[in-house]
């Protein structure tokens, strides 16, 4: 019988990367990602993982080295956060556009200035449109499970796309949690060998990363969009297969006490666990509130969001990032836009909170829900409100 062990989430990620027998890890240190790559460097140094650990001189080069490794068919992993993810930005587009499966754990971190090493989703939202499959996680077990799934999804010949697994910096990356690691026999059953169909190979020369004139660029982008959208089926298939082997299931939108809820809160990442406490308390008081936890961020789960939210009267969306001068947080914008075509839809109220590592307690979530209900009734002068900000 496999037992859960107390383990730091970052270390557990390293253990998964070891169990999938990754070939190449290229990484540059940035808080709060460091424990992941430190552990991987140790595993390689001790001979527990037969991989190339490339200690590159920047995140730009980390992702670039990953491109090269993936292009020759290596199972490739990296991790980053915040400024590091921003420095990788242009390389991220290349990874997805050239259909190179790379798995990256992102310990979500705020963006400068002022400098903040603490968590929010500004980094994730800045790379929203880079064409990666993106999964948000809530606890250590979900991180472990989804890093494993990420390899299977990304390397699937129907997909061949890079995958980001987002976990909140510190709030999740540095937590010691009871974690069940996948057994080698389970991994062998679950994860096929990475067989990249057209690697760089002198016996079959291919030209990769060509120059695309206007006559072909739109077609290339359409193909990419179709491919990413179609990847959702493979994500679902992967999670089903995961449930069969590991007895734990994942869905694009996780619903918590939402079936008969008049008021729904939607959040992402580790905050969801705290929000559940608030929902339980309010339910105890007879309030019909529920929670939607958005797990699959890209490709965006339109149908699942509609199905989960359409019966509610109010949907409060909490973003951990600001789209400055815009309609609110990026998540709220997208959810609102997904619901717009429905004849009957909830009022969507946007909040931004938890910026730069600011905690939101169960009481805080209760306050957000109550204020959201108030705004739904009476309106607000603001397009969105920032929760807990000192004026």
């Amino acid at each position: 019988m496999v037992k859960k062990v107390g383990m730091e989430t970052s270390v557990a990620i390293g253990e998964v990367v070891k169990r999938v027998n990754a070939d190449v890890i290229a990484a540059y240190p940035i808080t709060p990602q460091t424990h992941i790559v430190e552990h991987l460097a140790e595993l390689v140094a001790e001979g527990e993982l037969d991989a190339a650990f490339i200690p590159v001189e920047s995140e730009h080069s980390a992702m670039s080295a990953c491109l090269g490794a993936a292009a020759v068919g290596a199972r490739t992993f990296t991790a980053s956060a915040g400024q590091g993810l921003e420095l990788m930005h242009e390389v991220l587009y290349v990874a997805s556009s050239m259909r190179l499966p790379i798995v990256m754990a992102v310990t979500n971190r705020a963006l400068s200035a002022p400098l903040s090493v603490w968590g929010d989703h500004s980094d994730a939202m800045a790379v929203r449109d880079t064409g990666w499959i993106q999964i948000f996680t809530e606890n250590g077990q979900e991180v472990v499970d989804n890093v494993l799934c990420a390899f299977r999804i990304g390397e699937d010949p129907r997909v061949l796309l890079p995958v980001m697994v987002h976990l909140d910096g510190f709030h999740l990356s540095h937590m010691i949690e009871p974690i069940l690691l996948p057994e080698p026999s389970q991994v062998a059953k679950f994860l096929p060998e990475n067989k990249y169909p057209l690697p760089l190979d002198p016996s079959r020369p291919v030209t990769m990363g060509d120059f695309g004139p206007p006559v072909i660029y739109s077609e290339a982008k359409k193909a990419q969009e179709v491919n990413l959208r179609a990847a959702k089926e493979v994500v679902l298939e992967c999670w089903n297969e995961f449930a069969r082997i590991f007895k734990h299931s994942y869905h694009p939108v996780e619903c918590y006490r939402s079936e008969d809820a008049k008021v729904l809160l939607l959040a992402m990442g580790s905050f969801c666990e705290t929000a559940m406490v608030a929902v339980d308390k309010m339910r105890g008081e007879g309030k019909a509130v529920g929670l939607l936890r958005l797990r699959l961020w890209r490709p965006f789960p339109f149908e699942e969001i509609r199905k989960a939210a359409q019966a509610a009267e109010v949907l409060i969306v909490l973003d951990r990032a600001i789209s400055f001068g815009g309609p609110g947080g990026p998540v709220c914008s997208e959810v609102r836009s997904a619901l717009y075509p429905l004849d009957k839809r909830p009022k969507v109220i946007g909040f931004v909170g938890g910026l730069g590592g600011r905690d939101i307690t169960p009481d805080g979530f209760e306050a957000i829900i109550s204020r959201g209900i108030e705004i739904a009734k009476k309106g607000s002068k603001e397009e969105f409100e920032i929760f807990g900000v000192r004026e």
Binding site: V24, A26, A51, A65, G68, V72, G73, L200, P202, T207
Partner: protein
């Protein structure tokens, strides 16, 4: 021997300009790189002229991703091939890796990635095809543009001499990384160029080859003068051909008497605004640098 290689791995029919020294240098380099190679190409002239969809000039596996990351991509490829071979996956044979970039992609925007890759000791050959400016975007100055040259962003004018700084010494920067092999070459000396490519490939660890590539468009010279101007660059001491093997310098073409730099400068429109005094200043600098290089040979 390199001079008898008939195979062309860089196919004819590319879109390079007439008289392009870089296309010639790449063709020669490819002969010496052979078939057992993976080429990583930075954004720039070469990538643009050789890979426009749906065509390709490359008869060997080739990848382009971005401008500044060529050495990093090559690092990933080299490391991946090595570890996968050890695991019995991927390519069974040892495959060589070459990274190619222009002077901007090497001495400016790609310098950090190159420095990182050299410092980490990846087994690859880096080829800088130096045409002394950002030619692909329309002749803008780089740190590799020589002093006094007119470019679109270092224009000669009433208050400007043209390029205001002295050419960055990339081979010296590469050599400062204490890598096993650094050399300079020019397609005007094809055998020397191919020999150095072969040598750089064979040597374990990072090798850096800096290849002067005449650009008639950017240098404002006649398209049939590419070879001659390349030779003059060498014969005037402006661009000496040398090697640094494990720290030991050797001059490949020692010239008892350098030709005057004016012979080299006068053939190029980018220098036509230079006064005799400035040409004298350049002459002096070239002699000084050449003497310093010869000192290194002795040491």
């Amino acid at each position: 021997m390199a001079e008898y290689i008939e195979e062309e791995y860089f196919a004819p029919g590319h879109r390079a300009c007439i008289g392009c020294g870089e296309a010639l240098a790449v063709r020669l380099a490819c002969k010496a790189l052979g078939q057992n190679i993976i080429i990583v190409n930075a954004t720039g002239c070469m990538e643009i002229v050789s890979s426009q969809l749906p065509y390709t000039s490359w008869r060997v596996p080739w990848i382009h991703t971005l401008f500044e990351n060529t050495a990093a991509v090559a690092s990933g490829i080299e490391a991946a091939l090595k570890v996968m071979r050890g695991k019995g996956r991927g390519l069974a044979q040892e495959v060589n890796v070459a990274a190619i970039a222009g002077d901007g992609g090497t001495s400016d925007i790609g310098l950090q990635a190159l420095s990182g890759a050299m410092e980490r000791g990846h087994d690859f050959l880096y080829l800088c095809f130096d045409n002394e400016a950002y030619m692909n975007t329309g002749i803008q100055r780089s740190s590799s543009t020589p002093f006094g040259a007119h470019t679109t962003t270092s224009p000669a004018g009433r208050k400007s001499i043209g390029q205001f700084s002295w050419k960055k010494d990339m081979p010296a920067i590469a050599a400062a990384h204490k890598i096993p092999y650094v050399a300079t070459a020019c397609p005007s000396y094809p055998k020397d160029l191919m020999r150095k490519v072969e040598k750089g490939l064979k040597i374990r660890g990072p090798a850096y080859l800096h290849i002067l590539s005449v650009c008639p468009i950017g240098w404002r010279c006649a398209t049939d003068l590419t070879i001659k101007i390349g030779r003059l660059a060498v014969q005037t001491g402006v661009f000496p051909l040398y090697e640094v093997e494990n720290g030991k310098y050797s001059l490949n073409l020692d010239l008892p008497q350098l030709k005057p730099v004016a012979e080299y400068l006068k053939l190029q429109g980018r220098f036509r605004h230079l006064s005799d005094e400035v040409i004298k200043e350049i002459q002096q600098r070239v002699e000084e640098e050449y003497a310093k290089l010869k000192e290194k040979m002795a040491g």
